[in-house]
């Protein structure tokens, strides 16, 4: 028996998941950073107080790192309100999630916990386990020096080696370190060659101090770059003529790669068309295979006839801090769908047909484009847009409503709207029409899982079904964890 309360609960949970996938507290096209943060903060408080179970379970979903850190923080802040059973699940979820978060995010989270004066036994235990599981504490000591120092102090812990302790708290005490990385840091103060044994972020400031030319520095530091640092440095290295930095683009994550491509000037994109297209296709194929093996309902080439409506209107520019992020998500979806579908048609809102040259410009005539898409009689229709349908406003909703009610009442076409932008004012991603499910989109790689999840947002949501889904995802998430590290 479904009550009104159940319906509201299910809707709240869905809304929160969408927000947690898309919201980053940064400036967006339509709203400022402060609005975004205020809106997210409200949602987190609301969820934590009213639906603690699903709130913690969201950690098992593909939410973004910003929100994962916020959830962990809030759960630890309010430990007292949790029951014994909840505490156990939460502990496992938090531990697993922290492993997946980039270390700099965790160190920042620890700093926030410290500022908020959250230092209960549970927090310390979780921090201890996380720090113990870090593969190399000397690397953290060099690369996240302040963060590690703060973390050790906050959790009342001793460093793994006495040497690391000296390095952090009394760097003048030892004339030499046994750990090569720590010693390299010591030598880098006076020896140029030692700079290139350090991680890139640390070496950069030493290089500055030694006056090493940027091109030479990039060339020699290239082997120490992480994959994302390498991608980020591609263009500046090319301008400096440092060839050693050149990356294997196909190995990069799809959405990041799309962002990189969109950052290139159109002339470069034309000149390197074959290379970039191959890289995007290769990355998309890998993402499609991963989706197939992850047990989603879909594997490569099994989606049938797919049509996508992709938004490259001016608002897809995002903002100065998330430059072209919505457009990058759309471009990545384009290549992923190409890999997933047997027969694929892409329709950009601007009417352009060359995906590689996509650029944000023009209005958003979503209604017209959806009509064009329905003309191709697809089995699946995906709409990737921020939901600001403005030429004319509301036409997409009307077209979709008429299509659902009059032209396709048996639902032969499955329609899903994916939205990469969190709407601070609506506490959700902007919807197109009540008859079409809308899901938040972070990385295109999650697309198959999102399309699966989006069915909950269609019509009346069944809370029991949703809870079961969350429980299954939680179990899958936790079972992927190596034994012994969870508590």
């Amino acid at each position: 028996m479904e009550t009104y309360g159940d319906l509201v609960a299910a809707e709240d949970v869905l809304l929160f998941v969408n927000a947690a996938i898309t919201g980053t507290g940064q400036r967006e096209f339509h709203s400022g950073a402060a609005e975004q943060q205020l809106s997210l903060d409200f949602l987190h408080t609301y969820m934590c107080v009213n639906y603690r179970g699903p709130y913690a379970a969201a950690l098992a979903l593909d939410i973004n790192d910003h929100n994962a850190a916020l959830i962990v923080r809030r759960l630890l802040e309010t430990s007292r309100e949790a029951t014994e059973e909840q505490r156990r699940t939460e502990g496992r979820l938090i531990a697993r999630r922290l492993e997946l978060l980039p270390p700099q995010r965790v160190y920042r989270l620890i700093g926030e916990l410290r500022r908020a004066k959250v230092n209960n036994r549970r927090t310390r235990a979780i921090l201890r386990d996380w720090l113990a599981a870090r593969p190399d504490q000397t690397l953290d000591a060099v690369k996240y020096r302040a963060g590690l120092k703060r973390a050790l102090r906050h959790a009342h812990l001793r460093p793994a080696e006495a040497e690391t302790g000296d390095f952090l708290y009394a760097p003048g005490r030892r004339a030499k370190y046994r750990a090569p990385l720590l010693d390299a840091w010591r030598r880098a103060h006076h020896q140029k060659a030692a700079v290139f044994e350090l991680p890139y972020t640390v070496a950069e400031s030493f290089a500055q101090r030694h006056g090493i030319p940027r091109a030479a520095f990039l060339d020699r530091i290239a082997p120490r770059l992480t994959a994302l640092e390498r991608l980020r440095l591609q263009e500046s290295a090319r301008a400096h003529g440092a060839d050693a930095v050149a990356a294997d683009l196909a190995g990069m994550p799809l959405t990041r790669l799309a962002s990189y491509v969109l950052g290139l000037p159109p002339a470069d994109r034309i000149a390197r068309r074959a290379e970039l297209t191959d890289a995007l296709r290769g990355s998309a194929r890998r993402a499609a295979r991963a989706a197939g093996s992850a047990g989603s309902a879909s594997a490569g080439g099994s989606w049938g006839r797919v049509t996508a409506v992709l938004d490259d209107s001016w608002s897809a520019y995002g903002s100065g801090v998330k430059r072209r992020r919505p457009l990058a998500a759309a471009l990545a979806c384009h290549f992923l769908l190409e890999a997933l579908a047997d027969e694929y048609t892409a329709l950009w809102t601007s009417g352009r047909t060359d995906a590689l040259l996509a650029r944000p410009s023009g209005p958003t005539p979503l209604g017209r484009r959806i009509l064009d898409a329905l003309d191709t009689a697809p089995q699946r229709l995906l709409i990737v847009s921020d939901g600001w349908d403005n030429a004319p406003p509301g036409l997409a909703a009307e077209v979709l409503r008429v299509w659902r009610t009059r032209l396709d009442p048996e639902r032969r076409t499955s329609i899903v709207h994916l939205n990469p932008v969190y709407d601070a004012e609506g506490f959700d991603v902007r919807r197109l029409a009540p008859t079409v499910p809308t899901a938040g989109l972070r990385d295109a790689e999650d697309l198959p899982a999102l399309v699966e999840f989006a069915r909950f947002a269609e019509g009346r949501t069944d809370l029991a079904e949703l809870t079961a889904h969350l429980a299954a995802r939680t179990a899958r998430f936790l079972s992927a964890a190596p034994e012994g590290t969870v508590r």
Binding site: G367, G394, E398
Partner: protein, 401 residues
């Protein structure tokens, strides 16, 4: 100074042929309606130049100057033979090869400095095919100079000062676009249409400004300059007090039976047509359906720069503005300023007085008033100094008791 706008048969109408209305975009209380030119005008181009001066005094005639805060001016370039013109400041990029492919990554040399100086005239020819003018100030000066010379016949009621110096000094207040709440954000999130050459700005659904340029590239460059334009106090107040205005959302419920995608397409086209008709007929009606009195400022090849004044109908929408029209009267450039109610009243009173040779009793009769009532109305409109002090005092005393 002779009246700038001789009373005559109203001839000028705003002819937006060649411009198509596209769906509005709403942000808070501001509604922006784009105008798209399928065939842009290539032989007239506009360019903006910024002035540093806080305010400027621009001579407009013998011993008459126009003082205002003037943040920017426009430069119009045209050709005589219909070939495409280049906007002022356009440069051939040496980095671009002859085939148009950008070559080396060398940054282009910095542009030659354009000399910035305080404008010497409201519209000044800078060359055979170049004109520099101050947008909106041209129109506003036309409004301020309306019957600027004062009474044409020295009837006994007019003060010495009015007879000797006319309406001088004559002042009006306006707000810059940056002070109109929500306008900056609305312009920022507005998505330009391809081929867009104009924009109508509605604040709380009152038409604030109509802006049209000849070429989409010019529009893209000048879109943000709407923030530097002038807005009347009416618009400023509306922006402060307005609640968000609703979207005109598409609605296919009344479209009749839809049984195929083709039907749906037809219904969609019908919706788009309905919006265009509604906007051009109703929302912009106050601007487009009225006749204006225009005065030619300058000829630019086949184009004409003129400024225009409305008929000053109290309690109705009245716009002043300036326009560049081609030989058939079609608008190539347009900028309007919405007058607020007191401004309309002032223009109306001056017009009526001038029409009756500044004779108070005849004017009063024509307006269905008594002479004291008309005098008090002039007083309320801010023209107290035109009347002799003792005459005015007499009427005031009579009105009080």
């Amino acid at each position: 100074m002779s009246p700038a706008f001789p009373a005559g048969p109203p001839a000028f109408r705003l002819d937006l042929t060649g411009l198509e209305t596209r769906p509005a975009q709403v942000w808070g209380g501001v509604r922006l309606v784009p105008l798209v030119r399928p065939e842009p005008i290539a032989d007239l181009r506009l360019h903006q130049e910024l002035y540093e001066a806080e305010y400027a005094a621009v001579p407009v005639g013998r011993r008459t100057t126009y003082h205002s805060y003037i943040p920017h001016g426009f430069v119009a370039d045209w050709t005589h033979d219909g070939t495409p013109a280049a906007a002022y400041g356009t440069r051939l990029d040496p980095a671009a090869g002859p085939s148009g492919t950008p070559s080396a990554a060398l940054p282009a040399a910095p542009p030659e400095r354009v000399r910035v100086r305080v404008p010497r005239r409201l519209a000044k020819r800078e060359g055979r095919t170049r004109l520099r003018f101050l947008p909106l100030h041209l129109a506003l000066e036309g409004y301020l100079a309306l019957h600027f010379g004062g009474p044409s016949i020295a009837w006994e009621q007019w003060s010495d000062r009015a007879l000797r110096r006319g309406l001088s000094p004559r002042a009006e207040e306006a707000y810059s676009g940056g002070q109109v709440r929500g306008l900056a954000d609305a312009l920022r999130v507005f998505e330009l249409h391809p081929g867009q050459c104009g924009l109508l700005v509605y604040v709380a659904d009152a038409l604030a400004v109509a802006s049209v340029v000849p070429h989409p590239d010019d529009y893209r460059a000048l879109h943000r300059t709407l923030l530097l334009d002038l807005y009347g106090e009416l618009i400023h107040h509306y922006a402060v007090l307005s609640a968000p205005v609703p979207d005109f959302r598409a609605d296919l419920r009344g479209a009749g039976p839809i049984n195929s995608v083709a039907d749906l397409r037809a219904a969609v086209a019908q919706q788009e047509h309905a919006w265009t008709a509604f906007h051009d007929g109703t929302m912009a009606g106050g601007l487009l359906d009225t006749a204006y009195r225009a005065r030619t400022v300058r000829r630019l090849g086949r184009f004409t720069l003129s400024r225009f004044l409305p008929e000053f109908r109290p309690r109705q929408e009245n716009h002043i503005g300036e326009a560049i029209t081609d030989e058939q009267g079609r608008i190539a450039y347009l900028k309007t300023f919405r007058l607020s109610e007191p401004q309309i009243r002032r223009g109306y009173l001056l017009d009526r007085l001038a029409a009756h040779d500044w004779h108070l009793p005849t004017t009063a009769t024509a307006l269905n008033l008594t002479e004291p009532q008309l005098a008090l109305r002039l007083d309320a409109a801010g023209f107290a100094e035109l009347l002799r002090q003792d005459v005015l005092d007499h009427h005031r005393r009579a009105a009080r008791g």
